[in-house]
């Protein structure tokens, strides 16, 4: 199978979202505000890394060249990554991490719910399994939006600032790229226009219960799905890929 087939690229895009967000959450290891959160965040990081691995494995399987899935994670450069820009944004403070997670989880939940109906048997099986993990991720991040928003005046302010700051990275998730339109038309991937209102309703519901509000700005940043990334991704890859770049083929 040609490495540039739409399905191959689609698997990579899904894997990249999971891998990069998982890496970001992993950066909290040893630094979270509470020991319990340290474990919670790295648990989610491991779920996401596991999802990325499965997707990359499937991609290399289709590719049929016998390359390990690690090549996809560790030997591609910035412009070859297809993750949305939201997931590569820095951790910031805890509220920023929660806002990023919540926006992504809300999208990811409805995306995978729809992906369970994919006509690609592997993808639908993957979605069924992942949806259980993502359901918990959304529960975790929603609970924290509620707690921080409806907590002290300081936590409320920080949570509101985080929702505001990350807002313009959110539109990209539900705006279909040419590839996503193609996958939706083929019945392989979700129609993003179709899940958009479910995502928005869920986000609105949690945010309003948290006594917070969503920004009204409609201009959205984009580019990740085409490989145009923010400066942050290069720094992530530098750290994440260091070992394979410095010691090619190294295993442990």
């Amino acid at each position: 199978m040609d490495a540039n087939t739409p399905l191959f690229s689609y698997l990579l895009q899904l894997g990249d979202n999971a891998l990069i967000l998982g890496h970001r959450l992993g950066e909290w290891c040893g630094h979270a505000p509470e020991m319990e959160l340290d474990i919670a965040l790295t648990n989610i990081a491991l779920d996401l890394t596991g999802q990325a691995r499965a997707l990359y494995q499937r991609a290399t399987e289709l590719d049929g060249q016998g390359k390990p899935e690690d090549d996809l994670a560790y030997l591609r450069d910035v412009a070859e990554f297809r993750n949305v820009l939201l997931v590569e944004q820095p951790n910031g403070d805890f509220a920023q991490t929660i806002a990023r997670q919540f926006y992504f989880d809300a999208f990811n939940y409805f995306f995978h719910e729809e992906l369970t109906r994919s006509n690609d048997a592997w993808l639908s099986g993957f979605a069924v399994k992942s949806l259980k993990e993502i359901t918990y991720h959304l529960r975790f991040s929603s609970e924290w939006v509620l707690r921080l928003g409806d907590g002290t005046s300081t936590s409320h302010e920080k949570m509101q600032t985080a929702l505001d700051d990350l807002w313009y990275w959110t539109g990209e998730m539900t705006t279909p790229s040419a590839l996503e339109r193609q996958m939706a038309a083929a019945g392989t991937g979700p129609d993003l226009q179709q899940i958009k209102s479910s995502v928005n309703d869920r986000v609105n519901d949690v945010v309003s219960r948290a006594t917070l509000h969503l920004p009204t700005g409609t201009w959205m940043q984009s580019g990740g799905k085409e490989g145009r990334h923010t400066e942050h991704l290069g720094f992530i890859l530098t750290e994440m890929q260091f070992l394979q770049r410095a010691y090619p083929g190294n295993e442990w």
């Binding site: 319990e36 474990i39 648990n43 975790f140 609970e143």
Partner: protein, 94 residues
């Protein structure tokens, strides 16, 4: 000093039909968060099917200084153990 969250005791049922067993404690701001923290910390290796949490302050514990009065008297009363009965052959697994 940082004000920390209250302490909660965690009980996990490892599979249906078994009792919840005390597995440790965690910090959490409220009961919902305690369940989530307990889930993340104590069930990540497939240890359980059900979680109970109770705020540690609600547990009343016996005083270690009372141990002699509370527990010593039971030590020499072996007749309270059902070890003096001759079990019929047919009864197995006792």
């Amino acid at each position: 000093m940082k004000k920390s969250w209250p302490l909660w005791e965690v009980f996990i049922r490892s599979k249906s039909g078994l009792d919840h067993k005390h597995v440790g404690s965690i910090h959490a701001a409220d009961a919902e968060m305690a369940i989530e923290n307990a889930r993340d910390i104590y069930t990540r290796r497939n240890e359980g099917v059900s979680i109970w949490v109770v705020e540690s302050k609600h547990i009343t514990a016996s005083d270690p200084d009372d141990a002699d009065a509370l527990f010593e008297p039971a030590k020499d009363k072996i007749y309270r153990h059902p070890t003096f009965y001759n079990l019929p052959e047919e009864v197995k697994h006792m």
